[in-house]
Subunit: 244 residues, 2 copies
């Protein structure tokens, strides 16, 4: 892990860009902390870190105010990382299917999501190794947002993650419902009720499938990108309860 740049943000937060091999990432840490702080891994959709930056930094500043470090890495095939032609092709298929108003088959969903999960999850685990080796970052670790199937897989395979805030806003392969049953950590699941690009019933079924004894579903209006400010406050409360 190599730091490539740093800047001081308001609220006493240090933002450092880094690379982990060829994967770019960003780490935000509260500077006033006197001991290692808990860490939240910030997930995001496949739009690239620079496009997502404004929303990510807002979440990072809020978490820093709670005393938490946050970090994120670029997803495979996104942003400045090499294109992933095979995945781009199935994504184009998916877009055409949606635009034509046709039903989205399980095969397309599997082809779009599963290779991404299989490749991204070990990268996030490697990032976790590197981040937890920093003296200023301790634990416990939470995972927040992004492609929900990545969050589910991480919650199953990564024991260092003790709580996850998930965004039910993307297609979910059938096999992930089985993985969901093996999730036992506390979950906070966000659903945009009127998100027309999302399958609401699948999101409710996935929530039902999670094996966690402690799980919360928070549904709001406002469409896919219209998550209200209050939902951010609720998620912050969830992590404050589980990472302190």
């Amino acid at each position: 892990m190599q730091f490539t740049s740093e800047q001081r943000l308001d609220d006493d937060v240090l933002e450092r860009k880094f690379t982990l091999g060829d994967i770019p990432g960003i780490l935000w840490t509260p500077e006033s902390a006197s001991e290692p702080v808990p860490l939240i891994l910030l997930g995001h959709p496949t739009l690239g870190l620079s496009k997502m930056y404004p929303r990510l930094v807002a979440r990072a500043l809020r978490s820093a105010a709670e005393g938490f470090a946050t970090a994120t890495i670029e997803l495979p095939g996104s942003g400045d990382r090499p294109r992933w032609d095979a995945l781009d092709r199935v994504r184009a298929d998916l877009r055409r299917t949606i635009q034509a108003g046709e039903p989205v088959s399980d095969e397309i969903i599997d082809a779009v999501v599963l290779p991404l999960v299989d490749k991204a999850v070990p990268e996030w685990q490697a990032a976790l190794d590197a981040l937890l080796a920093l003296p200023e970052v301790g634990g416990p670790v939470g995972y927040s947002g992004g492609v929900i199937s990545i969050g589910v897989r991480l919650a199953v395979v990564e024991p260092r993650i003790v709580a996850a805030g998930l965004f039910a806003g993307s297609f979910v392969p059938r096999v992930m419902f089985e993985e969901a049953r093996r999730v036992t950590i506390p979950l906070h699941v966000l659903l945009q009720w009127d998100d027309e690009g999302n399958d609401r019933q699948a999101a409710l079924d996935l929530f039902d499938a999670f094996g966690s004894k402690e799980k919360t579903l928070l549904a709001n209006m406002g469409g896919h990108t219209g998550v209200p400010q209050s939902a951010g406050e609720d998620a912050a409360g969830f992590f404050a309860r589980h990472l302190r």
Copy 2:
């Protein structure tokens, strides 16, 4: 409205019992307020005010800390009010049906819930008249919890109520889904996901039916009575946003 007793609780809160005609009620007000405060009407199930008192006073103290008055009245046929034999008989039918594991018909739900709504709602409106006439109580007014159909009807017919926190924990007559479409105030709906005595799909359908542009569904585990502490904090945040 006649005050029948008063006591000072910790947290600088004055608790006053009152009667409104033959209806008993309780009012909690933050004593340090220098001007009229917003009011939350505290709904509750049909178990009687004395049985519900511990949970009600906890909600009242929390609201007082936010600077809000809270008040509640006994439901018809509950607590120290005269028995309501006809309603008791259909409730007994409902209990027998549930204990026998038989499906609960729309007719039984209508018979158990609709007379209660029809009788209770004008009483809550009369209580609102009396409470808002007190110099220490102003507005705006919120409604919180209790029999959800009473909350829905109040949200439709009572323009002084500007926000409602509802608990999707009781049977809902079909006609209430039509009334729900006419609700336009901000809503915060609580659902216990694993509440075996509740019809989860009906609760989700009711949430979907609400006409409000701003509505939030918060689902937690823990069974009918196991609403987690964090849900109380979320509800408090909802009222803080809408009553201040």
